[in-house]
Amino acid sequence: MTRGPALGLIVAAVYLFLLAPLVIVVIVSFDPTDAFRIPPSGLSLRWYRAFFASDTFVRAFFRVSLVVALLVSALATLVGGLAAVGLVRYAFRGRTLVEAAFLAPIVVPEILLGAALFLFWSYLRIKWTATLAGLALGHLLIALPYVVRTITAGLHGIEPALEEAAMSLGASRAQAFRKVTLPLIASSVLSGAVFAFIISFSDINIALFVAGADTVTLPVHIFSQIAWQADPTIAAASTLQILAIGVLLGAVQRAFRLRVAM
């Protein structure tokens, strides 16, 4: 295999293909016209003003997507972190089975998870599509596998002997965990929390089924706007989402050299 200019050109072309839609969305969001032209005919914040002037966009971004993502991030880190500790630090019957069960949501296509959740709540006559709880539970389900895996990996990387040493020096089990183990796995806990946030924030497949009229998330609102009237306000909203995710990832990667749990 040559490692010459041919390979470089192919790789550059594939990267261009991969990044083209995102770059284009960002560029057209600053165009003063709605012609979707490249190069843009000027530079303006017209579509960002339109975004902030639109009740539905602002609501979908700040009152639904952001709130649910923060909620899911906190819950997934707590529930997933506890599960990781249980799986790594304790031996109990059926441990391997439980570990496999936490991977199960990855095996099921997201649209089927969404459809099944919607049918389940309709069957039980729970009106969760009207509240954020339904969205949060659906997103918690798809975020859990990543959080459990990330924190499990973090726990495997440190010696249990450290905790034991702290305990032999008089710390209680809880103290030893909080003062010794927790600081050591802080980066994997933070990675898990960020992953959970992003999974929830960018999900469309589950939200498409479980979001009610009052709980439309940003991706679902963008989806319906594309079908109705594709104006560059969508591009502005998209750029804001890309920005939020990019900043979050950049910050975490810088601070902790985040390893992607893929």
């Binding site: 990267y15 083209a20 069960a101 095996v107 389900l141 992003i198 991706p219």
Partner: protein
């Protein structure tokens, strides 16, 4: 503390997570498996009368056609991802540059952005009033329909799923010592022969796990065919969506979901297995 009580504490720790799995995964999936065997009723949505009719209906020419379209788009998407992904995976596995972190960041970041945004980008590029058509018209070449057919859906899916192919391939290629390539070249192999005889066979585990992952996600696509395939391209995901939210034929929707779940579930279990083997082998080397 006795070993028994310590084990019990472990169960307490995993319990909240298990509860989520039961309420949000096991319960709903059991329900759709059940409903898929019930009789449809236009007024009550479903009646508790046992039937196999929902599955029998899947043998209809129309639904077989949709299934075939789905499988075909999945296979083509996987093939294109493999062809485009291999050079990138090789590059990333072999490059020694301080920019590697940036290359990885650019590969993985698109995965984090909502798929609907990336598809919106493609609509801007490929639409009737889009960039490509504007350029063509500027050159006096007229307008070309770049959306509303299966190839458009493949373009969208390849862009969405390519990183899922590159990452396992990269892991596999990293495990091939560079000295092996040099040895082959010293013995007179051309670049093509090194690729065909050495690198490609040794990257098969990565190729298999990447392909299984890409395929299983591609055949459960919903948003991509809905926005890029127009009215003509219908995949199983679109059918599930319409039957659940528009036609409200939940028994039939459930039987579609069960079939799709069985296919993707089998493919994903295969993916997890090959991935496990891939990482296990790396641990030994």
């Amino acid at each position: 503390m006795t070993p028994g009580s310590r084990g019990l504490l472990g169960v307490v720790f995993v319990l909240p997570g298990l509860l989520v799995l039961i309420v949000a995964l096991l319960g709903p999936l059991a329900l759709i498996a059940g409903i898929s065997l019930m009789t449809y009723s236009p007024t009550k949505i479903w009646l508790p009368v046992f039937t196999g009719a929902n599955y029998a209906r899947l043998a209809d020419a129309y639904y077989l056609g949709v299934t075939w379209t789905t499988v075909k788009i999945g296979l083509v998407t996987t093939g294109v991802c493999a062809v485009l992904g291999w050079p990138v995976a090789y590059f990333l596995a072999r490059v020694r540059s301080r920019w590697l972190g940036l290359y990885m960041f650019l590969l993985v970041t698109p995965l984090m952005v909502s798929s609907v945004i990336r598809i919106f980008g493609w609509l801007v590029i490929l639409g009737r009033q889009g960039l490509v058509n504007a350029t063509l018209r500027g050159l006096g070449l007229g307008t070309v329909e770049l959306l509303g057919h299966a190839p458009a859906v493949v373009v969208g899916l390849v862009e969405l799923l390519l990183p899922f192919m590159v990452l396992p391939l990269m892991a596999a290629i990293e495990r091939v010592p560079e000295s092996l390539e040099e040895a082959a070249r010293n013995l007179g192999a051309t670049s093509w022969q090194v690729f065909r005889r050495v690198l490609l066979p040794l990257s098969v585990p990565g190729l298999v796990s990447g392909s299984l992952l890409v395929y299983s996600v591609a055949i459960s696509a919903l948003v991509t065919p809905a926005l890029m395939g127009g009215r003509k391209v219908r995949m199983l995901g679109n059918l599930v969506y319409d039957e659940v939210l528009t036609s409200m034929n939940w028994p039939f929707a459930s039987s579609l979901a069960v079939v799709l779940l069985c296919i993707t579930g089998a493919v994903m279990v295969g993916y997890l297995r090959t991935m496990q083997r891939l990482t296990a082998r790396g641990g030994m080397a």
